[in-house]
Amino acid sequence: MSAVLSLRGASLRFDDRVLWSGLDLDVRPGEFIAVLGANGSGKTSLLKVILGRQRLSAGSVSVLGESVQSGNRRIGYIPQQRLADEGTPLRARDLLSLGLDGHRWGLPWPSKSRRARVDAVLASVGASQYARVPIATLSGGEQQRLRVGQALADNPRLLLCDEPLLSLDLAHQRAVSELIDEHRSARGIGVLFVTHDVNPVLGMVDRVLYLAGGRFRIGTPDEVLRSEVLSELYGSPVDVIRTRGRIVVVGTAEGPHAHPDGTHAQHDEQHDPHHADEYHHEVRPL
């Protein structure tokens, strides 16, 4: 089967800082790829490249065999979570229907077929009960379910998710990631799932793309998430600990206070290894 997304020799640099280079990646229909890496390693920028909002410095990218353009309705997109403001004049079903026909001009005239379609998508993401509730009054988990529904409403071939589980509790993390998993296997949607914590999706992931310090590794979680692989990638000792079915990466100087522009990647080598142990990412409080 042909790839839904292809990157060839793709590089992205800002000024003299290389986020990643020489990236070759094919995402097959139905494949679930987790994009991991420190803050500022270029995970979100990768999604922007695919969405046509960021140009590659070198190489090429194509979606469904065509070069990318700004605004592709074959792509579903779940951006980093931003809770709806109070006073947003939309109910759950209205937010969802924007994903179906929000790009069309004119007034949204109600029709039977449109309503039926929105109802079907609402049901498929388990949001029927709050279909008529103003979105600003919904919980973060409920809003995120709707965003999944919105992204899937128009039958995309590729789904881009940017930290879709951020600030959700464990139950909702599981619910939302299972929802994405279910739809991608049922409909053969390729998924690129940006996350700082691979654990909630570990059982679903086919391959991992790990970005760090201008370089990357691609492979199955077992191939990539290993101490020697990540140590080589980071250029400093990194421990990957497997405990009770969870993966914890220790020593990447990536903590809650890490600098968001990713300058820590350069700092890594100078980092005192004893202090580095104080930081660990991909650990979330239970």
Binding site: N72, Y77, P89, L90, L107, P108, S128, L160
Partner: protein, 305 residues
């Protein structure tokens, strides 16, 4: 009518030597209404425009920008008054320039607020300068700030009608993608909605709406028809159909009600319009609180079998 009975009661018991007839006076009411049918029509049209565009002002969080645009519209109108050219054209130019500046320079909310805050006092100062130099009727000066609906003549009504049609039709054309872009810009962009172009189109429509509102309720009180009715409607509903409908109804009631109450008295219509609009908002808030207490969230209960 409540207002008239209140007025009657108050004037009967007036011991402070304050003449309530100055505020409410309903003698010869029937004849006045015939005379002012232009004004009533203008008020209704303005209610439609303000109520509709207010929905987007709220969902794009642009209430402050509206105020800024109206001050520059005031500056344009004052300059036109001084130079002896059309006041309507002057206020149109002022508000379109302000709307475009805010739209182009302030694509992010923080930038937009600071640009607005920079433009607003400048516009107001410019307007005051022009008015200070103007030696004509002082009623003209005051009217730009606080409204002058009592004197809507046929050409003015024509202007208002044309601009209102442009704004309403324009809004209907961009309605759905504009709503998408307003509430969810990232996803809308990913779906191919022209965010930037829509933002400029919206600012132009907003500039037009503000310019006609300044003509009628005055620069200081534009918010009462471009923001308050939509804010009140959002307290009652989140339905994409009900919010604009309620907002238009509230704006029209404020405008037409304000004109009807102001007819007889000698003060401008704007205090009446703003008071009605404010009271509607208060009532809507109270209703929202009562509803929340009763747990009417709109959720369906899980079916128990």
């Amino acid at each position: 009518m409540i207002a008239s009975s209140v007025a009657a009661a108050l004037s009967a018991s007036s011991s402070a030597g304050f003449d309530w007839n100055q505020i409410f006076d309903f003698t010869d009411y029937g004849e006045l209404i015939v005379l002012l049918h232009n004004s009533l029509l203008a008020g209704a049209v303005l209610g439609l425009v303000g109520g509709l565009i207010g929905v987007f002002v709220m969902s794009r969080d642009m209430a402050f920008a509206v105020h800024g645009i109206s001050e520059l519209s005031f500056a344009g109108a004052s300059a036109a008054l001084l130079l002896g050219v059309g006041v309507v054209e002057g206020s149109l130019v002022g508000s379109l320039v302000a709307a475009l500046l805010i739209g182009v320079l302030g694509s992010r909310a923080r930038d937009r607020n600071s640009i607005t805050a920079v433009l607003m006092p400048f516009g107001l100062g410019l307007g005051i300068l022009c008015l200070a130099l103007y030696s004509g009727r002082s009623a003209n000066k005051f009217g730009l700030l606080t409204g002058q609906i009592v004197a809507v003549d046929d050409p003015q009504l024509g202007w208002l009608g044309v601009i209102a049609v442009v704004v309403v039709v324009g809004l209907f054309v961009v309605w759905r993608p504009l709503m998408f872009a307003s509430v969810d810009a990232d996803v809308a962009a990913a779906r191919g909605v022209p965010i930037r172009g829509l933002s400029i189109v919206f600012m132009l429509l907003l500039g037009l709406a503000v310019a006609v509102s300044v003509q009628i309720v005055g620069a200081l009180l534009v918010l009462s028809i471009l923001v308050t009715p939509a804010a009140a409607a959002l307290r009652l509903s989140s339905s994409p159909v009900m919010v604009p409908v309620l907002s238009v109804v509230f704006a029209m009631v404020s405008m037409v009600g304000g004109i009807l109450l102001a007819l007889g008295g000698s003060i401008p219509i704007s205090p009446f319009v703003t008071t009605i609009s404010f009271l509607i908002y208060v009532v809507c808030r109270v209703i929202a609180v009562v509803r929340a207490r009763r747990g009417l969230s709109g959720r369906l209960r899980v079916a128990t079998e």
